[in-house]
């Protein structure tokens, strides 16, 4: 394939043979290789750009008095406006915690069944179903949540409205499930077989092996799966916007309507004037979200790598 590789004659007496490639790359190859490098470098630039544009459009409102991370009231269109982020943070936190509390036990359980117990054909069907769950657009889930789940929650708990933190959390739990199931399954599979065989050789049953050997060994991976699930829940927008009830108040229970950071941006951005305080406040929320997901994903990544090295 490459005719220009020449073998130079051996010098001196020793048995050393030097192979020297005198292949000159054609310009098309240089161009393509340059493109490959450029594309990769640009990925780094994109992250910087995202941060830069969020910061630029937020206009430094984060540092002004009107924008308060711990402020108790989000009243963007009253006079004077108040941009207290606390109710939105509390809303995001409440649905995230509730959804995670539902999704993690169920997701890990399902992952154990799919990975360890299910017969091969059943396993394939279950995995495809989990993939389908991941693929359902969030707006479809939000739509069904509004007209099927919310009335159910309303009549079950006898509430004035079914659009509550609980309804949103239930939907979000199932949206985070595919991430948790598939990553937990990966974590279980990556436990070395020697551990498994050792446990069987000691006379442990499958279930004992899973509980005493596999789960402890896969713990970092399962935690990482949990963190990535959390990241998915915090960032989810359309479904929460449609079923959380959109009330920017600090909630006292999961049966109250709430408002999340993401839903606020999606709901209010259309009504703002470019460059206004409200507009800048929404970009500031974007920055807050960016920061939160950055921390959550970094923790997840650390956990994954710790799992790999141990």
């Amino acid at each position: 394939m490459n005719p220009s590789v020449k073998r130079s004659p051996p010098r001196g007496k020793g048995p050393r043979v030097t192979l020297r490639a005198t292949y000159r790359k054609p310009w098309s190859e240089r161009l393509l290789e340059g493109g490959v490098h450029l594309a990769a470098w640009l990925c780094i630039l994109f992250v910087v750009l995202i941060l830069f544009f969020l910061a630029r459009e937020s206009g430094g409102l984060v540092f002004k008095d009107v924008f308060q991370v711990v402020g108790r009231y989000w009243r963007p269109i009253s006079e004077p406006p108040q941009f207290g982020v606390l109710p939105l943070l509390a809303g995001s936190l409440l649905v995230t915690l509730t959804a995670t509390a539902i999704a993690v036990p169920l997701g890990v359980g399902a992952a154990i069944y799919i990975g360890e117990f299910a017969p091969p054909q059943v396993r394939e069907i279950l995995k495809v179903s989990v993939e389908f769950l991941a693929a359902i657009p969030s707006v479809v889930i939000g739509f069904l949540g509004m007209i099927v789940l919310a009335p159910l929650v309303k009549s079950l708990f006898n509430l004035p409205t079914g659009l509550t933190a609980l309804s949103a959390s239930l939907m979000l739990a199932w949206m985070a499930m595919p991430t948790i199931v598939s990553l937990t399954e990966d974590a279980l599979r990556s436990v070395p077989d020697t551990l498994r065989h050792g446990a069987y050789a000691l006379g442990a049953t499958r279930w004992q092996t899973i509980r005493r050997v596999l789960l402890p060994a896969a713990k970092p991976g399962i935690l990482a799966a949990t963190m990535l699930g959390v990241g998915r829940v915090i960032g989810e927008t359309m479904a929460v916007l449609m079923i959380s009830g959109n009330a920017a108040r600090i909630p006292h229970s999961v049966l109250e309507p709430i408002r999340t950071l993401t839903a606020t941006i999606a709901a209010e951005m259309g009504e703002t004037v470019q460059g206004s305080d409200h507009y800048q406040a929404l970009f500031s929320l974007g920055l807050v979200l960016f920061g939160i997901t950055l921390v959550v994903n970094t923790i997840a990544d650390r956990l994954v790598h710790r799992g790999e090295t141990s």
């Binding site: 190859e29 490959v36 995202i50 359980g109 479809v140 927008t237 470019q274 974007g286 990544d301």
Partner: protein, 284 residues
């Protein structure tokens, strides 16, 4: 306390886990089933082939279907060359360099950014910063950036799956690095890369938040002519008619949901089929 029989314990655990798995899976069937049963009545040829009339209350959803297809095509067009190139860099050119570590970190962060933040970014850089306006161009670029980490990750996985002995053999025959990538690695990972791209299209088709401020039109009963036009899109349309417009028949809403769900799950099924074929035909 009596010691429990470990095998009986295992049977119980197995049953419990099976029930949990069913609980996780059943909503998929419920969602798909409900949407099909209640939406099928609204979907006919007129629904799919005409524009909406009378403030979304009558007529079909053709502009939304076309809009979604345009957005997906644009997003794939921008993100695939870029993502595949980045993956080639990461796997074939500089797997252990410091820059590759930074690139990986960047991809990881891009993957974690919420979709609505991409919407904000798209608004800030494309719509306002580059003065593209609310347009197909701005929307597809935003979607492409959001899908970039998906393409990079899936492509990198497929490239890594090609055994190293293929590369070594090629290099030993005197092929250059690029020739090895072009003639050995890429052909052998093509199906995996394709699967990733197909999955991206289904994800792009269902996204709402990133297009909300960058391209999506609430009501625009004509087809787009240039890349500076706005378009309607199916997910946006479903959001609009289920929250913003009163007095729309429930069957119409379910109909839109059915078309969107059919599109997304259909594309997914294709990806799954390609993948299982690939597993069967693998030569190494």
């Amino acid at each position: 306390m009596r010691r429990q029989d470990p095998l009986a314990q295992e049977r119980r655990a197995r049953l419990g886990l099976l029930l949990v798995t069913i609980l996780v899976i059943v909503p998929v069937a419920l969602i798909v089933g409900t949407v099909i049963v209640k939406g099928i009545g609204a979907v006919d040829w007129e629904f799919l082939s005409t524009a909406p009339r009378n403030g979304l209350r009558e007529g079909g959803i053709l502009p939304a279907i076309v809009g979604t297809l345009v957005l997906v095509a644009g997003a794939v067009l921008w993100s695939v060359p870029f993502g595949v190139a980045t993956a080639i860099y990461l796997v074939e050119y500089a797997p252990r360099s410091q820059i590759a570590r930074w690139v990986r970190l960047a991809i990881l962060n891009l993957a974690g950014i919420p979709s609505v933040v991409y919407g904000l970014f798209g608004l800030g850089i494309f719509v306002i910063g580059l003065k593209l306006g609310v347009s197909i161009l701005a929307g597809t670029l935003t979607l492409a950036l959001m899908n970039l980490p998906v393409i990079v990750t899936s492509t990198a996985e497929s490239l890594k799956a090609v055994p190293d002995r293929f590369r070594v053999a090629s290099l030993a025959l005197g092929a250059s690095r690029w020739q090895t990538v072009r003639h050995i690695v890429l052909p052998n990972s093509l199906q995996g890369i394709l699967t990733g791209i197909i999955l991206e299209t289904s994800r792009a088709a269902g996204e709402t938040a990133p297009i909300l401020f960058t391209v999506a039109a609430f009501y625009l009963p004509r087809l787009p002519r240039t890349i500076y036009d706005q378009v309607m899109a199916l997910p946006m349309h479903l959001y609009a008619i289920s929250t913003q417009v009163p007095n729309i028949g429930m069957d119409v809403r379910y109909g839109v949901a059915l078309v969107l769900l059919g599109l997304v799950l259909g594309v997914n099924a294709i990806a799954i089929a390609v993948r299982s074929r690939m597993r069967r035909n693998r030569i190494w």
